[in-house]
Amino acid sequence: MRLSIDHRTTYRFSEPQARVVQLLRMTPRNTHDQIVADWHIALDCDARITEGQDGFGNATTMLYIDGPVERIDLSVTGEVVTSHSDGVLHGTLEPLPARLFLRDTPMTRADAAITEFARDVLGEEPGTVAALHRLNRAVGERFTPARGRPEAGLAVADAFARETATARDLAHVFIAAARACGVPARYVSGYCDRHDGDRPAPHGWADAWIDGLGWVGFDPMLRLSPEEHHVRVAVGFDSVGASPVAGTRMGEGDECLDVAVNVTREG
């Protein structure tokens, strides 16, 4: 499947900023199941741009923007050719051992309720394909999909207590539950051409480690394993670690962020 991605991010600052430095994790890598045919990161202002890689193996882009800057338009466009994979990852860059991803973070720390839920669903053999698919469905069915942008900094225990959840929160619940039962799990940020929301956003799902099989993707929003509809971009312990942009600015005032994502199938 050939997916065309158009991801636009606009920052507007209420006061001019003296300087902006951003770390982007916005470039997908080639794997056996996704070939990046074309990819561009473009800015509407002068900036020094450098390419790198972080400890998790994500491709990174540093942006160094001199002020005064009141607005940044960041446009990421490209085409990725995906193939059918049953959710099992092949050919991803994995510089870190899977068991590292048993570690929790403030946003993915399971509380008693999540742990109990995880034990109920995952049962005696939590690290198996069947158990993790059960978890994926159970997480997806538990919540009404939420529209709009995820609430910044929402911890998974608070998200779990709600009735609606964004894709990010669903992935966090899946991750926290898997880790609570000793299954390594991580957050994946990327794109998907099947979104229910009326306002498309970057998508997020989870990977879980299955001994003998490797990393397997689970998308609780779709209640399926990611397929050729998904483009993986970055992984991390949670959505913060895998987030498309980490930024700092030097200057007063507020910032207003606008994100528009368009994923279309080409033929």
């Binding site: 020094r48 510089p95 570690r103 980490a246």
Partner: protein, 510 residues
Amino acid sequence: MGTPAFDEIMGPPEREGARGELVDLCHWLQATPAEELRRRQEAAETTFRQLGITFAVYGDSDASERIIPFDIVPRIFLAREWARLSEGLIQRVEAINAFLHDIYGERRILKEAVLPEDLILGNAQFRPEIAGIRPPHDVWAHICGIDLVRTGPDDFFVLEDNARTPSGVSYMLENREAMVRLCPELFSQFRVAAVDSYPDMLLETMRSVSPRGCGQNPTCVVLTPGHYNSAYYEHSFLADSMGVELVEAADLVVDDDVVYMRTIAGRVKVDVIYRRVDDDFLDPLVFRPDSMLGVPGLIAAYAAGNVAIINAPGNGIADDKAIYSYMPEIVRFYSGGEAKLPNVETWRCREPQALKYVLDHLDELVVKLVDGSGGYGMLVGPTASAAEIERFRAALVAEPHRYIAQPTLALSTVPTLADAGLAPRHVDFRPFVLTGSKGVKVVPGGLTRVALKEGSLVVNSSQGGGTKDSFVLMDDAKAMTQTMGGMTQSIGPDGMVQTLGGADLTREVR
């Protein structure tokens, strides 16, 4: 505690009179009236107060506004003792460097199952964010402070490794300066290795690890969290004595993966940063996204190989308490030999046999929480009540993996000026070890901490601890062969000999 201890001047408990090589010091102590010693000690403390040397050594935050008491009686290492100790320190620091290089690279030590994988991967001090980055010249732990205790002439044990931002070196320097000024006669009696070249050694270390391609004159800076930090004096002192800029995060800017310092004359490229800030506050884009401290882009510059960060980010995994008990295995794995400098014997209660031993000997051991700090969750068996011991027994049985146990050691003592005159007091020691691209050097001196309360083993400044100067004696023969050529100062294997007043050692040796 009443345990007979080895006295570093007077010798083992059963011995009469001072240790042979130190008779002169004993004579000096006898010949100098206590009142005179006290006068000099007060003079030293007055100077420290005026300089504003207030520290939180080893993270004692409540010590920030106080000076730490200074004791006028030095502690002395003989040349041969020091030589042996140095070998052990070098081996240990080389192993720490090799370990960090491996753990953030290939992770051979995990693949070969020398360490349990979870010990590293589950430890918050292992920083995956910087995995795969190789620091310039592959040096990670440029400045190590290895905390030691001693129980006999050659019996040293490592209590703790400090491979992040060990502090206290300015004590070493200021204590020495005070001693040279107040007790000059000691420096004519003893051939004491100089420590005042430390800033030069440190600068040389920094320059040696500058990224390739930055020329003969790399720009080095000291990065401080600012003057509210309790060790700010040390930061400014070191920057000053090295003749480099002292900067705060806001003074640094990263552009195009290159670090610059803002100056009145414009941006100046920075090649080497001796940072005295924690990893968490280095770069908000990589660590602690909620923190607005730090230098955005610093890790990108580091990953691109454009700046050396001293010590390297991620070093906490080498000196973490949970790792400590595995240091003998770590040293063996990377050096191929047994550790020359042993750990304090440690029982890991996660291991069933060790747990059994600990439960059987609770009244003799110190039991500690692996992740505890500040003395919480600690049992000192010999002084604990029966109820406390039973409480710990229950805790150990319930969660053995959270505890380690160690014997109570008879820490060495050094005569110390107490209210009623000279009396033995327990000491520990933090030598400083520098690693540059040309190898590892042990600074011939260090920070001696002394428990000023009688019988106390607690040297923490927040709990009545003080400091002493630490003399490392030179080997006469070695010094002599290197003092030819009409130099007025002799250079020995461990640094320069201080010569003072009429006591011209160069002439004396000839």
